[in-house]
């Protein structure tokens, strides 16, 4: 298993390999078995964490984490105050890693990790939807994502290559979303949106 040196993530977290003792720091330790799904160094993960830290809506929230991978965003959401997370990933190996990571961070009771696509999540009314995933999936699933988020809930879309940022923003704002933040990173981008008010 590939391991890594501890690193800071956002203002809140210190990411550590499982079993490693947290150094004396004010940062919240987040233990992560990285496996093949990255360990959060990726700029889009860092950008998601930074945007999540700025979201008061996370407190007590029901969160959907689409393309959860290692589960890092789900676990961070719990540490940031979310009530319950549904994480979903099409890769069984990723879901297994996410479950292990949730357990190692003692938040497994609040993280429901599922294997499958968005269809594996029939629930609606999520306060926050996190989707750090391929841009074409974000494009194809605009309606499905919007049916799962509550009226005026939050969508954090990330992993968006530069070239898809503009079209994706147009697509979601065309569906009534309000653009809150547009983070252009080194190679990717992240978009924070407020879902439309439902009648």
């Amino acid at each position: 298993m590939r391991q890594f040196s501890p690193f800071e993530l956002g203002k809140t977290f210190m990411v550590l390999p499982p079993g490693e003792t947290a150094p004396e720091t004010e940062k919240q330790p987040l233990w992560l078995q990285s496996g093949a799904f990255g360990s959060g160094e990726h700029e889009t993960t860092a950008s998601c964490i930074e945007l999540m830290e700025s979201l008061p809506e996370l407190t007590g929230a029901q969160v959907l984490d689409l393309g959860t991978g290692t589960g890092i965003l789900s676990i961070a959401a719990v540490y940031l105050g979310a009530q319950q997370i549904v994480g979903v990933d099409i890769e069984a190996q990723a879901v297994q890693a996410a479950q292990t990571n949730a357990l190692n961070n003692h938040c497994h009771q609040r993280c429901d990790m599922r294997c499958g696509s968005l269809e594996a999540v029939p629930e609606t009314g999520f306060d926050v939807v996190l989707a750090n995933i391929y841009a074409d999936i974000l494009q194809e699933n605009v309606s499905s994502l919007l049916t799962r988020v509550r009226s005026e809930g939050i969508l954090l879309l990330s992993g968006i290559p530069f070239e898809d940022n503009y079209d994706l923003r147009q697509l979601y704002t065309g569906h009534g979303c309000q653009l809150l933040r547009n983070h252009m990173l080194e190679d990717f981008s992240s978009i924070l949106l407020r879902a439309p008010r439902q009648q």
Binding site: A135, D136, P161, F162, E163, D164, Y166, D167, M184, D187
Partner: protein, 336 residues
């Protein structure tokens, strides 16, 4: 008296209303802010000109020129004349530039006064539209970083994506700017620049995003066809050191080799033999010359034209011919 900006962006526009807003936004996001955009509307029938006019009202760095539809070379020359900077960044009206593109290319050109043209890594989008051939081409050209690699591959394929480059205005205007020929204006420019000892480079980072669309000129125009490219290559090969040879050995007796044989015969060269690995072809006669096994090859004073498309095979052939003491660009050439 207008000041000279660090970079002039040269952008021809023809019926690009759907994509222009994103293109302009990608320019407004550039880290390097000292630029002039020269947008040449080439007689668009959609709302491109209205979008440009609105943009110039909001941003004094944007200059808009109009002309009745005259084609890309005319639009580029029209715009080039109005570029105030000595450094020109090309841009197309349906593409996007990374926010660091201008800054990085400008810095490179400042630090490398010997360089005439600097490209960058290019990625095609949207992903769903990108065909395998295009993906293969971009992977190939994105790997050509150094001048030598770019020039060595000049007759294989166009080694630079035109709208992704920054070049020195003087080098291009000295050659008379863009020309109307039965082949692409950009490939024609690279080959003329190479003939005139220009130096090329590429920044490896992906800084340009090339929009795939069935309507793109590269897809639709006859002057961008494979035949047009081959005719262009043959035209410039006839002005290269290959012209000092009377006879040519062609490596590769497949369809590509035969197309090249016809072109070279038209240009007045003689084919003295073929080299091939396929045992079924060994011993045949093509265009009056015998097909021999590559292992039988010994330098005989003829030039070698390698018409083998697979990059892996091409690499091996290059190594082999170097081992035989032949120099690429002087005694052998790789073409497709």
């Amino acid at each position: 008296m207008p000041t000279q900006p660090a970079v002039s962006i040269l952008m021809p526009v023809f019926n690009a209303a759907d994509t222009l807003p994103a293109t302009l936004r990608s320019l407004r996001r550039q880290q390097l802010r000292d630029w002039q955009l020269v947008a040449v509307d080439d007689g668009s029938s959609d709302s491109s000109l209205a979008i440009l006019t609105r943009a110039t009202g909001q941003d004094p760095r944007i200059d808009v020129l109009c002309q009745p539809h005259a084609g890309i070379s005319a639009a580029l020359n029209h715009g080039l004349a109005q570029c105030r900077s000595c450094l020109i960044a090309r841009m197309d009206a349906d593409d996007l530039s990374h926010p660091q593109r201008l800054a990085r290319q400008w810095r490179y050109m400042r630090q490398h006064p010997e360089t005439t043209v600097v490209g960058c890594g290019v990625r095609a989008f949207p992903k769903q539209m990108v065909k395998p051939g295009m993906a293969r081409y971009l992977r190939w050209q994105n790997k050509l970083h150094e001048h030598e690699a770019i020039v060595r591959n000049m007759f294989v394929e166009s080694p630079l994506v035109h709208p992704s480059v920054m070049f020195r205005k003087l080098a291009v205007t000295t050659l008379g700017g863009y020309r109307n020929r039965p082949w692409c204006e950009d490939y024609d420019l690279w080959l003329r620049l190479a003939q005139n000892q220009a130096r090329f480079a590429r920044l490896p980072k992906i800084l340009y995003f090339w929009r795939e669309s069935p309507q793109r000129l590269t897809r639709t125009a006859a002057y961008c066809s494979k035949d047009a490219f081959r005719a262009c290559k043959a035209h410039f090969l006839a002005q290269s050191p290959l012209a000092t040879f009377n006879t040519i050995t062609i490596w590769g007796a497949g369809p590509e080799g035969k197309r090249w044989a016809r072109l070279l015969l038209e240009q007045g060269w003689q084919i003295c033999r073929w080299l091939e690995l396929d045992p079924r072809k060994i011993g045949q006669r093509l265009y009056g010359a015998r097909v021999e096994h590559v292992e039988a090859y010994e330098p005989d004073g003829s030039a070698v034209v390698v018409a083998v498309a697979a990059p892996g095979a091409r690499r091996q052939i290059r190594t082999f011919l170097h081992q035989q003491g032949l120099t690429e660009g002087y005694q052998f050439w790789c073409v497709t």
